[in-house]
Symmetry: C3
Subunit: 399 residues, 3 copies
C-alpha cells in the first residue's frame, strides 16, 4: 500500500466515527471531533487515490440530488465532482422547472425525489433560521418515509450551506490548513483572525465566518473575531465558539479592530458579511412581501457598509501579522478585489495576487470534503473499503 495512504488509514483506525454511517452532515457542531478528523482523513485518502488514478467508485448507479436555492458555482461543481467521484449521477431539483405546488409539503417533495436518491445536497442560506429549518424538515421527512416502508433506504443529507453553517467550505478551509501545516495536530496554538471586511455589495451570508469560529477552536486554534460595531454574528454561535475554545484550552476573543485581530496572526480570513440584525429584518420583510422595505434596508445597509471602507486587507495590515506576506490569507471566493472587481473592497490586489495559489488550493479541497462526507455516510467500514479500492486498483482514467 502507498505509504501516504497507509498513514491516513492508520490514523483513521484510531478514531470513533461509527455514528456517521447512514447519518446526515448538516453542521460541524453536530459531529464529534473524532468524526471531523475522520472526515478529513477520508478526504485526503480519496484525494490520494484519485491522484494516483485509482477509481473510488462505490456506486454502479444512484442519484445525488442537489437543491440549490441560491446561485452557486464552486459548491455546485464540488457537489457534482464529489458525487461523480463515487459513481453517483447528479440530478438537480430545479424548482423553477418543477411542479412543486404552492402548499405542497416539504415531506412530499422530499419523498418524491428520493426513491433512487442516495444523497441530497441542499444550499439554502438566504434567510435566517430558514435554511436550517428546511434541511431538518427534509431530513426528518426522508427518515419518516424510510420508517414507513416507502423508501427502501434513507438518503442522507449534506448541507451545502445554510444560514448558520457552511460545513463543506469550512472543511475545505481546514483541510487546506492541515495539509499546509503538516497535520491536524499542528493547528493547535495557531492564531487566526476571522474579520469582517468592506464590500460594495450587501447581504453576504453569515455562515462563512460562523462556520470558522465554531470549528477552528475545536482544534486548539486561537481565534479572534473582529467586526465593526453592529455587524454581530448569531449570538448562540459566538457563544458556541467560546465554549469550544474553553474545552481545548484555546482562546476566543472579540474586538472591533481589524488591526488588533491581525496583530501576530498566523492566518487571516477577512471577508464581508451582513449583520445578523439586518438579516433578521430582511427575513421578516421577505416574509411580509415588503419589497419597498427590502430596498430601503439594502440602501441603509450599503450606507452603513460605506462607513467601514477602512476594513480591507492591505499589505500594511499583512505586515502586522506573524509572518508578513507569508501569513496564510484565506477566502471562500469570489473576493471583492480592489482594482479588479471593485474600486474599494475586501482586499488589495497585491495581497490577493500574492496568495492566489493558496486560495485556489484551499478551494481544491471542497470536492474531496463533499466526497468524504458521502463516503462516511455510505460505507460501513471505511478503512477496509479504502484499502479494498487501492487493492483493486481499477484505473479511473484508462489512459
Amino acid at each position: 500500500m502507498d505509504a501516504k495512504l497507509q498513514q491516513l488509514l492508520d490514523q483513521l483506525k484510531n478514531l470513533d466515527y461509527s455514528n456517521m454511517y447512514n447519518n446526515d452532515f448538516l453542521h460541524t457542531w453536530d459531529k464529534t471531533t473524532d468524526e471531523l478528523k475522520a472526515m478529513y482523513l477520508v478526504a485526503d485518502a480519496l484525494r490520494n487515490l484519485r491522484e494516483r488514478n485509482i477509481s473510488t467508485r462505490i456506486f454502479q448507479s444512484g442519484l445525488a440530488v442537489s437543491n440549490f436555492r441560491d446561485n452557486s458555482t464552486r459548491t455546485r461543481f464540488s457537489f457534482a465532482s464529489g458525487s461523480n467521484l463515487l459513481g453517483l449521477q447528479l440530478q438537480d431539483l430545479d424548482e423553477s422547472k418543477s411542479q412543486v405546488a404552492h402548499g405542497e409539503t416539504v415531506r412530499e417533495t422530499a419523498t418524491m425525489i428520493s426513491f433512487m436518491a442516495d444523497v441530497i445536497g441542499i444550499r439554502d442560506d438566504k434567510y435566517i433560521r430558514e435554511g436550517d429549518a428546511y434541511m431538518k424538515e427534509v431530513s426528518e421527512s426522508v427518515a419518516q418515509s424510510y420508517a414507513d416502508g416507502i423508501l427502501d433506504h434513507r438518503p442522507t443529507l449534506v448541507s451545502l450551506q445554510s444560514d448558520s453553517d457552511h460545513p463543506t467550505q469550512s472543511s475545505a478551509d481546514i483541510l487546506y490548513l492541515i495539509n499546509e501545516l503538516g497535520g491536524v495536530e499542528n493547528l493547535k496554538g495557531k492564531k487566526v483572525a476571522v474579520t469582517w471586511a468592506y464590500s460594495p455589495s450587501y447581504g453576504k451570508p453569515l455562515s462563512c465566518p460562523q462556520s470558522l469560529i465554531t470549528l477552528l477552536p475545536r482544534f486548539g486554534m486561537d481565534v479572534t473575531l473582529a467586526h465593526p460595531e453592529g455587524y454581530d454574528l448569531m449570538p448562540e454561535l459566538v457563544e458556541k465558539a467560546g465554549n469550544y475554545a474553553a474545552e481545548t484550552g484555546a482562546t476566543f476573543k472579540q474586538t472591533h479592530s481589524m488591526e488588533e485581530a491581525f496583530e501576530g496572526a498566523d492566518i487571516v480570513v477577512p471577508k464581508s458579511w451582513a449583520s445578523f440584525a439586518s438579516m433578521e429584518r430582511r427575513t421578516k420583510l421577505y416574509a411580509e412581501g415588503d419589497k419597498a422595505g427590502i430596498d430601503a434596508l439594502e440602501k441603509e445597509q450599503l450606507a452603513e457598509n460605506a462607513n467601514h471602507m477602512d476594513w480591507h486587507c492591505t499589505t500594511e495590515l499583512m505586515n502586522k501579522t506573524a509572518h508578513g506576506m507569508d501569513t496564510i490569507y484565506m477566502h471562500p471566493l469570489p473576493a471583492d478585489i480592489e482594482g479588479v472587481s471593485c474600486e474599494h473592497g475586501e482586499v488589495e490586489n497585491a495581497v490577493f495576487d500574492a496568495h492566489r495559489d493558496g486560495l485556489y488550493k484551499e478551494a481544491s479541497y471542497k470536492p474531496y470534503a463533499v466526497a468524504a462526507m458521502i463516503f462516511l455516510q455510505k460505507v460501513k467500514d471505511p478503512v477496509a473499503k479504502l484499502a479494498e479500492l487501492e487493492e483493486a486498483g481499477t484505473k479511473r482514467w484508462n489512459f
Copy 2:
C-alpha cells in the same frame, strides 16, 4: 435464486410480450394485456433486485433524452431514476436553451438528438391532440432515420404523459394495487371510483382519469366514472373503457354523482380535470394566439368549477365506500388538500393524511415502471437477463 424473483420470472415466462423489444411505449391501449402484465412483473423484478442491492445496469454508456414541454417533478425524477438504474445518462432537451429553429421539422430535431440516444422520454400534455401527434412524429422520424441508415439503432420512446394517456402514472397506480392486493389476479371484481373533484385551479390534464378508465377494466375491475355535467373526457376513450369492460366481463358505469360512485367502492381516485370541450377551446385559442380569449376562458371555467365545490373527498364520503377509511384512496400528487394547500379543494386533510403512506407508496412505483418499459424495449430475453443480473450479483452500492 431469491424466491420472490423466481416467482416473478416464472409468471413472466408464461406471457407473450416479444413485440415490446425495440418498440415504443406511448399508450397502454397500444399493448396487449400480456405485455402490460410483463411490464408490471419486470418492474417488480427490478425493484426486487435493487432492494437487494444488486446492480441492474445494462448500459455502459448511452443517453436517455428527456423532453419536458411542461413542468414536472415526480415524472422528471422518475425518468432520471429509471434510466440511471439501467446505466443511461439523462440529457435534457431544454428547448429554451436549444437552437431549435422556428420551422425546423420535428424529424430534424428528433434525429439530431438521437445519434447516441437509447431512449427518448416526452411529456407533452397541454394541448388536445398535440401531445400524441408530436410523439407519433418523433417516433416515425427516428424510425425513418434508422431505416435510412442515419441512426445505427432506433431510440425507443416512452410517453411521460400526453393529452390522452399518462402510462407511467397509471402503471405506478396499478403496480401499487397489485402489490397491495397481493397479485394482478386480485384486481378482478374490485370496484373503483374514478371521480372529478373540485380544484381552485384550472386546466388539469384529462390524461390522468383517461389513463385509469382505459386500463383498470382490462384487469376486470368495475369502474365508475363520475363528474359534473360538462366535465366530459375524450369520447373515444370513454368508449374504449366500455369496450374493455365488456371484454373482461367487468362493469363500466358513468354518473354525475360523486356519492353514487363512492358507494361500496374498494378504491377511490377523486381528482380534478378540465373538461374536454374547454380544453379543445383552449387549444384553438392558443393556436390563434388569442391571449384575451384564453384569459376569458380560464375565468369562465374557474367560475364553473366553483359551482362544484361539493365534489371533494370527505370522511363522510369515505364512509360510504366498502371499507370506510380503509378503502384505498389514490392520487398522482400533488393534491389540492383543504386546509393545507387551499381552502376548498379535492380532498379533506383528514382523508389525505390518513392515506399519506399509501399515496407515497403509489408514487414509489413510477421509477420502476419507467425502468421496466425501457428494459423491455432494450432487452431481447428479459427472463434470462434478469436471472443473469442476479447471478452476477454486482453490488449497486458497494457499502
Copy 3:
C-alpha cells in the same frame, strides 16, 4: 480483429500525432495534417466499435464541463454524447445559475470548475475576437493552475465554436465526405463551392464558412468562396485558405457570383453569414452597451441581406454543378428552407429534401468528432487502446 477497424488502425500507425496527447483542440489550423487525419481515423474507429456494440468507456468517473455562451442543440448533444461515450459525466457551467462574480477573473472560474474536470468544451462565437481570446485564457489558466500544483491534471479544451473556427462542425463535414467518397485520399481534386446564401435573419456566424475554407484545401480540395460584395470573411483566414491551397497544389478562388462557384462543383455548401465588417461593428456596439446602435445595425444589415435574395440554392443552380442533384449539398443545420421555415431563404425545399439523408448523416459524425478529439487528448497510445477495447469486447448495451 474486425477488418474495418484493422484498416483504420493500420493507417493510424503511420501518422505522427503524439503532440495531441494532453493538448487542446481549438482550431484545425493549430494541428498538422497528420494530426487531423489521426482524429478522423479515431472518430471512425470509435464509430466502428460503437456500431458493433463494444464499449469505449475509458473513464470510470470524471466530468466533461460544457460552457455554452450561446444556444445550441446539435453541438450540445454532440458534446454530451461524445463525452458520455468515453465515460465522462456532463456538467454544464450555466452562467445564469452560477455565482460567477462580475470582475471575477477567467483564471479563477476556470480553476474552480476544473478540480475533477477532464475536458472543457466551450462555445463562444458571438463576438469577433472574443471567443478565441476567452478560450485561450481558459486554456492558459488551467495550464497555470496545473503548473502551480493546484490541479492534479490539466483539463484539455475542445472548441465547440468560436468566432473564427468551428472545428467539430468542419470535422463532421469532412468525416462525411471521407466516408461518402471512400477515403481521405479521394478528397483531392474535388471542387467545392463555399457560398453565401440569403437568410431572413441576421448575424449568423462567420466561423462555419471559415472552418471550411481553411480545412478543405489542406486535403487538396479546390475551393471557390463566393459571396456578395461586402460579405467578407476575416481576411487572415482567407489568406490562410490560399496558403493551404498553394501548399497542396489545390486552387482557392474567390468570386461574387454564386453561379460561378456552383459551375462544375462536386460539393456545394451554401449558407448565410454576417459580414466581418458588420460583426466588428456589432462587437464594438455591444462593448459600448449601445442597444439603439445594435438595433439600427441589425435593421441596416437585414436590408442589405434583402438585396441578395437571389443567392439561394435552387434546382436550377444545382443543375450547373458537376452531378446535378447528385452533387453533395452540405449544411450544418438548421437551414432556412423556402416554404418550410421561411418564404425566401438559403435553399429551395426541393433541393433540401433531396439531400436530407446526406445532411443528417453529415451531422451524425459530430459526436464522434468530439469523442475522437477527447480520446486523442486523453490516451497515450490510441492504437493500442483501441485494440485493447476491441479485445475486451465489453458490451456497451447488454441487450
